[in-house]
């Protein structure tokens, strides 16, 4: 079995469409959001209020890693436990999520206001690998 990570064939060279080929689903950007707010372990992602199914979480972590958006590394042996972090490529999604959060807050009644630290942050401020 090829471990279900295949090279993505982009639908077009449009940067919007190509980005959506990597991130255009209900869960990927939720995981990226969690990493931006400091979550790093599998359990942390599971505990988010959206309630991601565990098989989808495992699949998305693999995909995001395969696409170079996050990195996985063991932070302890015995038993081996992993943590995840954004790469620079992943941290660069901050402006996208900032704008998406602003849009949601403005147009979706009942959605929270994004915290100021989040809106004022820059990609380099985020916790990230390397």
């Amino acid at each position: 079995m090829s471990k279900e990570v295949d090279v993505p064939a982009f639908r077009s060279q449009c940067p919007v469409a190509a980005s959506l080929d990597l991130l255009g689903d209900k869960w990927s950007l939720v995981i990226v959001r969690d990493l931006m707010i400091g979550k790093r372990k599998y359990k942390d992602f599971q505990d988010s209020p959206e309630g991601i199914p565990t098989n989808i979480l495992a699949n998305r972590l693999r995909k995001l890693e395969g696409d170079g958006i996050i990195e996985k590394r063991p932070y302890q042996e015995k038993p081996v436990r992993y943590e995840y972090a954004l790469t620079r490529k992943g941290a660069d999604l901050l402006p996208v999520l900032q704008q998406l959060a602003l849009w949601g807050h403005k147009h979706i009644p009942g959605s929270w206001s994004p915290p100021d630290w989040f809106l004022n942050a820059k990609p380099g401020d985020l916790p990230q690998e390397k």
Copy 2:
């Protein structure tokens, strides 16, 4: 039959997650992009290089309209033909798509550079209804 437009139950009140409840799929933002670059008719969307299947196009147009992101109106009778346009809510997605386009261009090899007019535009500049 209830015409397959149901009221969305948001996964959480996080503005990122709630936005993705409306837009988190491979096609919705591609249609929004097309409207931003001036496309307005069903056929225009079909002809985009990504090649959206027609059943998905019809479904997404219905959903986006139901969520108040686009509007549909007949521009001629006999035979009746429709055109679509962004609402203000839809036009407000411009900063999201601008950032997504910048990210894609920076991190996805082979993706085009977004045109300057697109990067410099503001939501109010876009063709929109009302």
